[in-house]
């Protein structure tokens, strides 16, 4: 599904290159559920951002579903990721001014779905996540677990092939975290969504099909489960 070859990301600080990712190569197939682990500063989030095309690598080649991402223009990249990628954040990042239903609807607006179509898709999603009763509440009125559920619903609304999750359970207690992980597993198994998550928790990492350990911007180990 995607392939990174010799990817580097560095910041120039007074003439010295400060590497965040250093000559990293990685192949990910469709249907995988990958957990990326590693200590703080090992480059987990940077890797995720580059995969999600939110950030550009300083060097290297990047391919996504057959496209050479490093050659695409911003607009084409944006179109590509709108179509294929959903994002889930540690801090949920819901829009405070919008209700649950409107938050979930927002990605569809940017993909030019008709209003009636959007309504139907949002209703489905609310149903599937059992949050129909909360659809008119604002994020501030929900618990952290519920907010993350909304965040995931929003990430999935446009039926992405790839779900990127940056410490999705980091702000949740263990029970809420487990529920989210179960949900991820189900999405991966039943709907065939490819998932890449960054996590600190060994336990959550084991929900995946492969664990990749990063250290100092390089793949230290890759373990198939």
């Amino acid at each position: 599904m995607l392939s990174l070859q010799h990817i580097s990301k560095y910041y120039q600080v007074s003439g010295l290159k400060n590497f965040v990712l250093n000559d990293l190569s990685l192949e990910i197939d469709e249907g995988e559920f990958i957990s990326i682990m590693g200590p703080s500063g090992s480059g987990k989030s940077s890797l995720l951002n580059i995969i999600g095309m939110l950030d550009e690598p300083s060097e290297g080649y990047q391919y996504f579903v057959g496209n050479a991402v490093h050659q695409l223009k911003e607009k084409q990249r944006s179109a590509l990721y709108k179509q294929y990628i959903g994002f889930v954040f540690q801090a949920y990042h819901l829009i405070d001014e919008l209700t649950v239903a409107e938050n979930i609807e927002t990605p569809l607006i940017y993909q030019d779905f008709k209003s009636a179509e959007r309504k139907a898709m949002v209703a489905d999603m609310l149903d599937r996540f059992n949050i129909v009763g909360k659809k008119d509440l604002f994020p501030a009125q929900l618990s952290g677990g519920q907010q993350q559920l909304v965040g995931i619903a929003r990430a999935l609304i446009a039926k992405p092939k790839l779900l990127l999750a940056d410490e999705p359970t980091g702000n949740l207690n263990s029970k809420q975290g487990e529920e989210i992980m179960e949900l991820f597993r189900k999405l991966n198994k039943e709907d065939g969504v490819t998932i890449i998550q960054v996590t600190h928790s060994e336990k959550n990492a084991e929900y995946g099909s492969r664990i990749i350990n990063l250290l100092d911007g390089k793949v230290e180990s890759s373990k198939q489960l």
Binding site: N49, D55, H93, I95, I109, Y110, Q111
Partner: protein
Amino acid sequence: MIKNYIKIAWRNLKRNKTYAAISVIGLALGITCGILIFTLITYHLSFDTFHRNSNRIYKLYTEWHEEEVNKAGAVPQPLGKAFRNDFSLSEKTARVINFHDNLITITKGNVVKKFREEQGVAFTEPEYFDILNFPLLKGDKKTVLVQPNEAIVTEKIAHKYFGDDNAIGKVIRLDNKLNFTITGILKDLPANTDRKQEIYVSYSNMDQYTDKEREGNWGGVYSGSQAFTLLKPNVTVAQAESGLAELVKKHFTGRDLKVWRFKLQPIADMHFNPDLGGYADKKYLWALFFIGVFLIITACVNFVNLATAQALNRSKEVGIRKVLGSLPHQLFWQFIAETALITIVAVIVAVCLSLLALPAINNLFHSQMAFNGQELTVFIVIISLVVIFLSGSYPGLVLARFQPILALKSKLSQKHVGGFSLRRILVVTQFSISQVLIIGTIIIVSQLHYSQTTDLGFDKDAVLLLPLPQNDKVKLSTMKNRINEVQGVEKVSYCYGAPASHSNNTTGFNYDNRPEEEHWSINTKAGDENYISTFGVKLVAGRNLFKADTVREFLVNETFARKLNLKPQDVIGKTLSVNGKSVTAPIVGVMKDFYNYSLHTEISPVCIYIAPDSYSSLAIKMNMRNAKVSLASFEKIWSETFPDELYSYKFLDDSIREFYEMDNIQLKLVEAFACIAIVIGCLGLYGLVSFMAVRKTKEIGVRKVLGANISHVLWLFGKEFSFLLLIAFVIAAPLAWWAMHNYLQDFKYRISIGPGIFLISILSTFIIAAVTVGYRSITAALANPVKSLRSE
């Protein structure tokens, strides 16, 4: 998509009520001024544009080329007729002779009604109504005013005189001299014309009315004597003016041939040319236009300031939207939509404010402006679009360019939100504008104060002026005796007018029997032997006039002597001839100079002589303690002396105040605009300080932990704003100096622009700014450092 934008815009505004309120108020004030100034300017530009063929209609006027060129928007009475008869350049030419403050008497059975008509009566040739577009509602346009003793009046006047009765065929009596039968009713005059006369009477009665044979007098110009002409389509102004030059050759001789010129003034110029009695100097319209533009710019600047300061709070949302697939241009339009929402609310508020303010402005200008729906709608739509894009695009661009990852991680800092320095420039711009206006206000106030308190050279307080409708000698002397007996009367004088007056006569003169007239003219004032004591005018040489019944002696002023290059005592005993040598008498005294016009105009040479025929006022110097009783006695005596006339009176200081009416209007306008500019500026400042407070939260926290006290923290803000205001002042001071220096050129006697004025301006700005900034910076300074540091 749009619905979503508007929804989120609305919720955002609801959440940030202060921000929304500041933005809306600032914009609404700016737009209100825009709407009002637009209305004012279009109103003035619309003057006398409704006449058919208005590009071919001209008013004749006179120029005198002497030491300097003098102009008057009037012509000798025979000129119009000669131009019509001698040339075939015009389709129509009409003379119209206006008089003011006339008395109209209506008799119905035994009831006599009297009306004082300030706009007066015009003796008019019938062609007038072919040239200018004042349609008749009743009466036959072909025959009205052709016969003598006919009158046409406007609907309004007809209704005032006769109620709902048919006015046609009714008789009105003018100044107890002449009767006119109404043969036509005019449609009411539009507000946008300078031709304010509402009563027109047959021109052929002119000679009867003025008692003099004016019809052949080429040498004198009465300010009400006007002529209009409608040139033929292919005739140029130059052709017409060369025709007028031939008339000068035909009717003038000697030196007058070089002095007199007649010219054409396009009707479109009538309203704007102050030299020829135009009301609205285009200079001031331009000034207003720029003030309006400035205010709208300040309001937009304000908005940009606040919106970009808000940007940090919005960065998370922007980041999320980008991650969810929004393109920069979609975000841009979202912020434009938000701006549009604020602007629309502001426009609605502004329209309401304008509706409320218009009557006050009409009152101020004595005008009848109305909102012109069509033009104004176009204006409002355009101004809304301009405001939306001017103030929405910058924040929109800044926000749309956020790096989404940084935004989501709250790592956005100052440099990403677009220069703080830009915001500084904006605040400096705003404060420069308000300081220019503040300095302007202070200077106009000082000048007006100076005009009203400076020693005019005569006593303007407690002097009452009564009109004299007739100059009957017996009546006048009886009235004078009776008034002298009224308690509280100190001095009484018959005269043509007060030392400073709107009505003036000037004439050429011969000094000391010199054969040639001098190249400058003299202002003649008729007054009796009590004139200088009543008005408190002082003598510097010679003596006062002796009591007499006719011209025996002259008093002149210092300027007269100075212009002749003589000392005051040297002119005593010399002869003076005025009014075409018809009056010759020795000079017996020289008066100390007094301001014989307003301070706008230079003191002119003046002479005073006894001329009972010319008296038209009775001046009474009185003791104000019993004013009420005395005033009642004056009215009784006057009404018994002139039973057919309408009593009125005026205090001299009031009529002198009228000289500065326009200045007072300007003052009020500038004051209002200065206030609005200051309010908008303060809103911007408040926005900036809020922004700074957010930005400096961490810095303040750290400083406080390190031991800074509140005053240290306040100085963080203080030094920033002091600096900005100083820069604004440095920009504003020379601009304001230049503008006000030009303004003061309109006054021949004026204050000098001293450093004090600038000092007051900058001090007041500092105080206003300190108050605005104070609250927000104190809350920032008082915040608990633990809280602000924990959020990191």
